[in-house]
């Protein structure tokens, strides 16, 4: 279980998160929606300790993330797959090496690594791209490699930062299907950050809206669709103010 507990984070004088409290239950997929710049990526990065909170904390299975360091932090990160907004593939490495990097760190045998890389690339429909470099791939393919890199580690949690942003509708639907497939395949808990409502309804069990640094509303897909909160309504219907 992942719990955000009264998380505060500011950059300089600008508060981004101001008392974010939210719970991600085991085996669910929770979607976090919110405007651009509302701090969704910032919230996600706190889960793996890439950012340090000003106050409050994120608790992952009873461990307060900001208090971890060294081996304990490494152990936590091994349970979490992070899919970055712009894929963040290593330019200097082939697709296969990108996917294998996390596995090498675990000291698996090369044969086992090769097998897992093949499996992960097959899961994201990218069989045969092993020897290509990230610069030779389209944006959608790169994002899929990013997913493969995260799931090759068989994590218990997968965090997706805007998996469908910048993709055409069909490729977006492919990404949605992938996220559902990944979850079935790994039985992992998912957190998906997005402002694509169609994707949110497809992959989410529950949806939480981040607004002005805290959670405006959280509920099942049906509850959010039926929300009477004007802020939530405006966002999900995509109406300009």
């Amino acid at each position: 279980m992942i719990e955000f507990q009264d998380l505060h984070k500011a950059f300089g004088a600008k508060p981004v998160l101001a008392g974010l409290t939210l719970e991600v239950r085991d085996r669910e997929t929770l979607v976090i929606i919110g405007y651009s710049g509302s701090g969704k990526s910032v919230a996600l990065k706190h889960i793996v300790g890439l950012l340090h909170p000003d106050a409050g904390d994120v608790i992952v299975d009873g461990r307060a993330v900001s208090t971890l360091d060294g081996p304990a932090l490494t152990a936590l990160r091994r349970e979490i797959g992070f899919v970055f907004q712009f894929a963040a593939l290593f330019d200097s490495m082939t697709v296969a090496d990108n996917v294998a990097l996390g596995l090498r760190r675990r000291g698996l045998a090369e044969a086992e690594i090769a097998e897992r890389v093949r499996e992960a690339l097959a899961l994201v429909d990218l069989t045969g791209t092993d020897e290509r470099y990230p610069a030779e791939l389209s944006g959608g393919m790169r994002k899929r490699v990013g997913i493969a890199r995260a799931i090759a580690l068989r994590p218990r949690y997968v965090l997706y930062d805007e998996p469908t942003t910048g993709l055409d509708p069909v490729t977006s639907a492919v990404m949605d299907r992938l996220m559902v497939r990944t979850r079935e395949h790994l039985g992992a808990t998912g957190v998906v950050v997005t402002h694509d409502m169609r994707s949110a309804y497809t992959v989410g069990d529950r949806i939480a809206m981040l607004y002005e640094g805290r959670i405006r509303q959280v509920g099942t897909v049906a509850e959010i669709q039926a929300s009477e909160d004007p802020v939530v309504r405006q966002f999900i219907e995509g109406r300009p103010a």
Binding site: L50, R77, F82, Q85, F86, R105
Partner: protein, 254 residues
């Protein structure tokens, strides 16, 4: 006014603090040989390939100029074989390390800052961390160790090149014989001349690559930020290099 000075001081102290922190993290990553070992070889090759041609090119011309300048200065009052002394001493003690160092700052330091800066702004550094790698042992140590180890080698070759071109210039342009050139070279030579230059070079290599890494990993703000970091890396490392050069002269040559 006082406020501005105060704020500047605080900023400077913070910068030094962050730098100290960075070096501390780097030292802590040293036992992780499994990660940095193989990558260091890759970086050593890169430092060599990137800087050797420029370093040798500069040294070759410097050797010729030194020989001509020496004879011009001596104007017959000083025996001509002192040309060998001057070329040798100057290349070994100062111009070999410093000119190659400035070339290295421009090429290797800049390219490291640009590379790490790009990795930083495209979240590749974050991605490394989520894969349970320490950027210090994966990115920084291989580069700093490669710079420190390779640079004395590059400088040694540069010094050799400069002396050879100085000798050729003396033969062809100054009517100096090989025996006389070598006599001058040996005159006043001390073993310290060699190790001083090479030791200094190692500290230059360390500084340049470390600055490249620190500045690169601090990059913010997209492509523009990467450009800024690249320039900063060159400027800072060139300044530090010259300060360090004066420092070693003060400490070791007196």
């Amino acid at each position: 006014m006082i406020e501005r000075v105060g704020r500047g001081t605080v900023r400077a102290i913070n910068a030094v603090g962050r730098f100290g922190h960075f070096v501390g993290d780097m030292v802590r990553a040293v036992p992780d040989v499994a990660t940095w070992g193989r990558l260091t070889i890759v970086q050593m090759r890169r430092v060599g390939v990137d800087s050797l041609p420029v370093a040798l090119f500069i040294a070759a011309f410097t050797g010729v100029v030194l020989a001509l300048q020496a004879s011009y200065t001596f104007t017959g009052t000083v025996p001509l074989y002192f040309v060998g002394t001057l070329v040798g001493k100057t290349m070994m003690l100062e111009l070999g390390p410093v000119l190659a160092g400035l070339a290295l700052a421009g090429r290797v330091g800049a390219s490291m800052a640009a590379e790490l800066g790009t990795m930083k702004v495209t979240e590749q550094v974050d991605a490394l961390e989520t894969l349970a790698y320490d950027p210090q042992s994966f990115l920084v140590l291989p580069r700093v160790i490669a710079g420190t180890a390779m640079f004395p080698v590059i400088v040694a070759l540069a010094i050799l090149t400069g002396i050879v071109t100085g000798w050729v210039a003396s033969l062809v342009l100054l009517d100096l014989s090989t025996q006389e050139f070598i006599k001058g070279l040996k005159l006043f030579y001390r073993f310290k001349d060699t190790w001083f230059g090479l030791f200094k070079s190692a500290t230059f290599g360390f500084t340049i690559t470390l600055v490249g890494c620190v500045v690169g990993l601090r990059t913010r703000g997209g492509a523009e930020g990467v450009g800024r970091s690249t320039t900063q890396a060159v400027v800072y490392s060139a300044i530090l290099l010259l300060v360090l050069d004066a420092f070693w002269a003060l400490v070791l040559l007196r």
